[in-house]
Symmetry: C2
Subunit: 295 residues, 2 copies
Amino acid sequence: MPPENWIAVDWGTSNLRLWRMSGDTVTEAMTSDKGMASLAPDEFEPHLLSLIGDPGPGPLPVLVCGMAGARQGWAEAPYLSVPTKPPAIGRALRPLVADDRLDVRILPGLSQAAPADVMRGEETQVAGFMATEPRFDGIICLPGTHSKWVHVSAGEVVSFRTFMTGELFALLSTASVLRHSIGTGWDGDAFLSAVSDAMGRPAQVAADLFTLRAAHLLHGQSTDSARARLSGLLIGMELAAARPYWLGQEVVILGAETLSQSYLSALRAQSATCRTAPVEDITLRGLIAAWKDAT
Amino acid sequence: MPPENWIAVDWGTSNLRLWRMSGDTVTEAMTSDKGMASLAPDEFEPHLLSLIGDPGPGPLPVLVCGMAGARQGWAEAPYLSVPTKPPAIGRALRPLVADDRLDVRILPGLSQAAPADVMRGEETQVAGFMATEPRFDGIICLPGTHSKWVHVSAGEVVSFRTFMTGELFALLSTASVLRHSIGTGWDGDAFLSAVSDAMGRPAQVAADLFTLRAAHLLHGQSTDSARARLSGLLIGMELAAARPYWLGQEVVILGAETLSQSYLSALRAQSATCRTAPVEDITLRGLIAAWKDAT
């Protein structure tokens, strides 16, 4: 039997979420802006203690997922290679700690040799989804800064692919010449039209990007349409490249509500079989699954 | 006969170059970091005067090309639509000036209605090339932050297309997650291999980008190779989209030496007919051509 009281932590690049657990039950939830990027390796343990307070007589188990396990994080938890089950606590790294009342375990991310790819954190979201749908066989799409397409079969992650779609959108809409022509609103028709353009002629995306600027200057294209078209061009290119993942497969989209709806509408326009699934606390569900599974 | 003494100015976004002219001859050359982006509309004339000093009894003709003619510049010089000859002084805008010893003319840029596209400044480089090769019929490629492909025939710019290749390279190599895996060196084989990958499967560029990061983490891919591959992926995608421009045409590349050599090697690998041409003072040659041609 695992101990009754433990700590679950989703330690990402820019922030962390922490749950004080009693078995499967959350007794307290906390967040902090001290993500991996803002901490030196020897600052993780003191920050953890500042959040949880007195750990009691110990040892208090702490299970961590995410970028805390990266090379530049708390301690490097080497990747597990696919195909593999999502990492459970038995595969976690134990960093050295100064306070021996803490028993810290950091879950590894996943790697793929060819095409070379990595994830840290998303594997625990995948585990959370698989905990709710253990028989799922298909594709999990995790849209975001670095969108992931994950092929799951027979309880294992078979393969995956990463797209920098969200990061490209952010850079182009805020730091490139397009920023002058990109608004904050939306235009669903412009989005779907751009998805279709990019899927049909992906190379043209290289030219279509500057067209967003020129169409604003010459034809007064609305900045809301331009924002939707930029998103559609980038997501359309992602869908064109990810076609071997979604074509003829069941796709579940796990992500923030608005973005997930965009992916859903784009995939449905391609007649793909897809749905969204609730993502609230999905990482926590993955941590609980990893905690209970000692394999 | 045009007046003997005049001023030629290439006023770009981030800096300007100014030449004091006697007919076709440069008598003094100056540069300044007061580009369009750092000046309010009413600051252009004082800055010009600070560079040229006493204009004499006047009127002293000043011929300007580039972003000074943009909406957010000194005064908006409306675009000429293609097909058209490169703009000559007769098509230039005369901004209001406080000092009537100055006779300022700002050359317009070029626009294309569909696909929507614009240029400001490159049209004068094109004019400079056409002044040296008046019979040229083919494609001028101007690689850079916003690469331009320009179809020239019978002395006119017929059509053109802009690619944000240089800006994407700068953003991805310095401001994205890839910055950790991108060095400062070069690997010609990796470049050509990436060009070939992107031209063969342009949609896959969306996935190949993150592979640069993962291949560094997993396989120790050198940061020099990664830099060359990033450049190759983006230029390859540009070449795939620009194929209607270069296929079966004579291509002249006008740009900075190192970048031009990259484009040349990529195009030659596609068996395209291409060469580079000297670009030193090409904008000045274009300004002189615009000055002498009153049409």
